[in-house]
Amino acid sequence: MATQAANNTSIDSSSNKRKGPASSGMIDPKALMQIKNLEMRARVVVEGFYHGLHRSPFHGFSSEFTEYRSYVSGDDTRFLDWKLYARTDRYYVKKFEDETNLRCYLLSDHSRSMGYGSGSYSKAEYAQTLSATLAYFLFKQGDAVGLLSFDDDFREYIPARNRPGHLRQLMHGLERPVSGRNTDVIAPLKQSLQLLRKRSLVILISDLLAPIEDLEAHFGYLAASGHDMVVFHLYDPVEMTLDLEGAGLFVDLETGRDFHVDPEIARESYLEKFNAHNEKISDACRNTGIGYTLLCSDYPLEVALSEFLQERQSKGRRIMRSTGNPGRNHS
């Protein structure tokens, strides 16, 4: 389920180059971040991705009819075409292509650790732009998009809608500055998901800097909540490599704790722990059916978007394969 990027959790600096804007002709995030207007940024990225390739996880009654197939024992009798049975005296089951608008919630982590950025912008700004891009993309497709932001506690809730002016409201919500201190990702997440009564696509964008034991324990709960979840695990290039010069007093942005660190000495053990952490998150997501994308904040946003769409497409296919009946809900 995890994407190619996610599988390659121990990314080295060469992966950046491989996916760099120069090689792919994509927009450099640095250049993109120069645009002050968040909506404008999103619009630029979404250019060329107008047609959505994703599928809704709902396969309800309002879906467009595609074909008939013979009834086999065990099929839901609700889908039997009684008129056709009257005419032909055979049982046929209707098969639908889902046309229902996707209900999508963007869960944005606003904790202090997201405020870190080794370059000209922080992870939070990147996450904002990514959220805005996804929101814009989905909104333009006619999907209902909502927003849930949190730091050490649940902060803001904009219900998923698709009506004029809603996009602007979303953008305002996304532009909220990073304010929290601690990131207990799970607790506010659980709290937020309780708000979402209807099943939705939930996109979590966070650096997931929390003890892996807590994350593992709670991912199961999230998966069981019935929502379709996608996690964008965001990191800064420096966090990936600890490519810092000179020793100094390192201050934890979230807890304020500080101690002396010499990156030269600490790098090896850091990378080991960091990669192990990422791998465990990736495994946890894989095991619990959560879509996982490891994303570096210097990746072009198109990569994120395309990987998101690819992931959605593949998931759609998997659903169809697993049910064997495109007209029925697997859940």
């Binding site: 100094g248 390192f250 942005l253 000495i265």
Partner: protein, 717 residues
């Protein structure tokens, strides 16, 4: 240069710290924010050692600051610039006084005193001279200045301590004041004898004493101390401070009849620093057969308190007496008190005058009222008219009299009788009621011409220049009683005393005329008053001094030493005062320890009262009289006296100052107190602190300037 507190100079070692800090380049502690430290572990900061010192000038400043501060705390002083210091060897004079009074019998005090003396004597330099004495009521020389010089300091020390070890402690009181003054005079005398002393010489009196509260200091009042004399007190502290004492304070009786029972009152005093509050008193009757316990009682006394207790009635049998014992009263030396048998002293005052005994304007009226009957004293006053020629009976009575008062010109036949009376040891009070009485005085004193004129002053006169050291005026010696300004004299005679040999003027009027004169004549004395006490002449008879004065003249001060019939250790006792005999030859006094001393026949005086107890007067081996001698109650007040008390008496403890050069180079090292004084005078530490501040300002300025000019200052700044 020397240091008062040299250990502080060790602070200089702290300069190692800035040097070390300058050698170590500490990694710059830049703060770097990072998203999370959960994957990081602390790494110790790297410190790199440099072989070369950085910022030399700053380092020098910092080291200098530490050095200056350390030196300032060490309190330096210069010996060479010291105004006290004299490099030449100077002869210093020391008098060592060791207390040998009764209170030194407590615990191991005497041995402590000898040990302390040994230590103090070690401080005496080879070229100095010392004199060692011990004192109680007297001052006894153990080793003189000359002996010390002959023996040299080392042998002198040994001899002095050895001789003192053989001294038996006396039962006497501590007359510290008198001892100090005598020692001062001894020093003065020695300096006078040895020619002109060096102005740089130190004269020092070192007193080794238990410094008990009962030490007598009266003599120090108003004493003018020699300029360059210093007194050093080495107080000794006993192991056991608990002590209580006894004192006989008086007698009481229901009436003055012979048959009435007389009881004694004794004062029990607990010492200030006593640790005990409960004592037991035991009363014993002492007879020839030995002691018999009469009764006992418990006394509860807080430290510093005293209580007057009534004793059981005196033993009825003649010759027996009462002894009071204090059980658990701390040191033993003062736990016994002898209460002598009640014996009324009888005296006869023979008055020769012509005044009416019932007229309050007359002198005789007051005289007969002075001598009232008391438990201890019965004074009879007999009056004879001056005009009457003496009969044989009168002559006999006059000769028996203890004092003859002449208050008017006596008939001529009286004069040889009076002369004979005085020469035989009698006392005459000669009150001049007019200037003409000088004629009688001429004849009495056998002086060619004695001039006396009536005073012509319109205002009253007061007495001045009273000689309180004279036995007669001694009772008024204390400052509480020495105020005579209320005694006004309106009429008096200005008597020319120069022709009289042996005239001792005890008091003058404020115009310089002699008021009271004592003239020794043979064995006796004539006390001349140039004014009488009757209200026409003066207010003397109406003043509180009068009764005391007349008793003092009658007994010539003796009565005040033998209050309530007891005597104190060290007193000289005149047997005649309480035992009238025609002849005192062959009499012996048996001391409490059994020793028999023959009595001085002429004076009938006994001065060997060196121990408390009952003294027996023997005539041919037969006891005819006894008298009790007790220890001075002041000796029981063993709480330690404050040095401040002596300072109030102007005893020169710290009299040396910048103008006097009394300290030698060697002494500064040996005497921390003097070093402190020298250091106080110079106060070099102030300059060092000032220098520290200056260097500190320079250092701050330099460091600030460097920090400004260096973007990333290395090392410590």
């Amino acid at each position: 240069m020397s240091f008062l507190t040299p250990l502080y100079a060790l602070g200089i070692l702290a300069i190692g710290l800035p040097i070390l800090l300058h050698l170590i380049q500490q990694a710059p502690r830049k703060r770097k924010e990072f998203s999370s430290l959960m994957f990081l572990s602390p790494t110790p900061p790297k410190r790199t050692k440099r072989k070369k010192l950085d910022q030399i000038l700053l380092l020098v400043f910092r080291c200098l600051i530490l050095c200056l501060l350390a030196l300032a705390f060490a309190r330096p002083f210069l010996k060479s610039d010291n105004p006290f210091v004299k490099s030449d060897k100077i002869e210093d004079y020391y008098v060592f006084l060791v207390d040998s009074s009764a209170s030194m019998m407590r615990g191991d005090l005497w041995n402590d005193a000898l040990e302390e003396l040994g230590k103090s004597l070690e401080e005496v330099q080879e070229e100095d001279r010392a004199c060692i004495m011990h004192f109680d009521t007297r001052l006894v020389q153990v080793l003189g200045f000359d002996d010390w010089k002959e023996m040299g300091s080392i042998q002198g020390q040994q001899t002095a301590v050895e001789r003192l070890r053989n001294v038996t402690l006396s039962w006497n009181a501590t007359h510290l004041g008198a001892a100090l003054i005598n020692a001062s005079e001894v020093l003065d005398e020695v300096l006078t004898q040895s020619g002109k002393p060096s102005p740089d010489s130190t004269l020092k009196i070192v007193v080794i004493t238990d410094l008990q509260n009962g030490s007598r200091l009266d003599e120090l009042q108003g004493y003018h101390w020699p300029e360059n004399l210093l007194v050093e007190i080495h107080p000794l502290v006993p192991d056991q401070t608990t002590n209580a004492g006894l004192q006989l304070v008086g007698r009481i009786a229901d009436s003055l009849d012979q048959d009435s029972k007389v009881q004694n009152r004794i004062r029990v005093t607990n010492s200030m620093d006593s640790e005990q509050e409960s004592f037991q008193l035991e009363f014993q009757e002492i007879s020839e057969n030995g002691a018999q316990k009469l009764s006992s009682m418990d006394v509860y006394l807080l430290p510093g308190q005293s209580k007057v207790i009534q004793t059981p009635p005196m033993p009825a049998e003649e010759g027996n007496y009462l002894k009071v014992l204090l059980k658990d009263g701390g040191a033993d030396y003062d736990n016994g008190l002898i209460v002598p048998p009640t014996e009324s002293r009888k005296s006869l005052v023979f008055y020769i005058g012509e005044e009416d005994p019932n007229n309050p304007e007359d002198a005789y009226y007051y005289l007969q009222r002075v001598f009232q009957l008391t438990l201890d004293r019965e004074v009879t006053v007999e009056s004879q008219l001056v005009k009457n020629a003496p009969t044989q009976e009168m002559i006999t009575r006059a000769q028996e009299a203890d004092m003859i008062v002449v208050a008017g010109s006596p008939a001529k036949p009286w004069l040889p009788i009076l002369q004979q009376y005085v020469r035989g040891g009698g006392r005459i009070l000669f009150a001049m009621k007019n200037a003409d009485m000088s004629r009688d005085l001429e004849k009495l004193l056998e002086v060619p011409a004695l001039l006396a004129v009536e005073s012509t002053r319109s205002k009253y006169s007061m007495l001045e220049k009273l000689d309180f050291t004279h036995p007669i005026l001694l009772p008024f010696g204390s400052s509480r009683f020495s105020d005579f300004t209320q005694v006004h004299f309106w009429k008096y005679r200005n008597l020319q005393v120069t022709p009289i040999d042996n005239a001792n003027v005890l008091a003058y009027y404020d115009d310089g005329a002699p008021a009271w004169i004592e003239v020794a004549q043979g064995k006796g004395q004539i006390f001349i008053m140039t004014s009488t006490w009757k209200p026409q002449d003066s207010r003397l008879a109406l003043s509180t001094k009068f009764v005391v004065l007349l008793y003092s003249i009658l007994d010539r001060g003796q009565s005040f030493y033998s209050e309530v019939g007891q005597h104190q250790v060290g007193n000289t006792i005149t047997i005649r005062d309480f035992l009238s005999l025609e002849d005192y030859t062959g009499l012996q006094i048996e001391k409490p320890d059994g020793q028999k001393i023959p009595l001085n026949e002429e004076t009938s005086q006994f001065s060997d009262t060196d121990q408390p107890g009952m003294y027996q007067i023997l005539n041919g081996g037969r006891r005819i009289k006894s008298f009790a001698v007790n220890m001075d109650p002041a000796e029981s007040r063993t709480g330690q006296m404050s040095i401040a008390t002596l300072k109030r008496m102007d005893v020169p403890f710290e009299r040396f100052d910048a103008t006097r050069k009394v300290i030698k180079v060697l002494d500064i090292e040996a005497q921390p107190q003097l070093a402190v004084e020298v250091e106080k005078q110079q106060k070099l530490w102030r300059w060092l602190v000032l220098a520290t501040l200056v260097v500190l300002i320079l250092e701050t300025g330099l460091a600030g300037w460097k920090a400004k000019n260096q973007k990333s200052p290395k090392g410590v700044s």
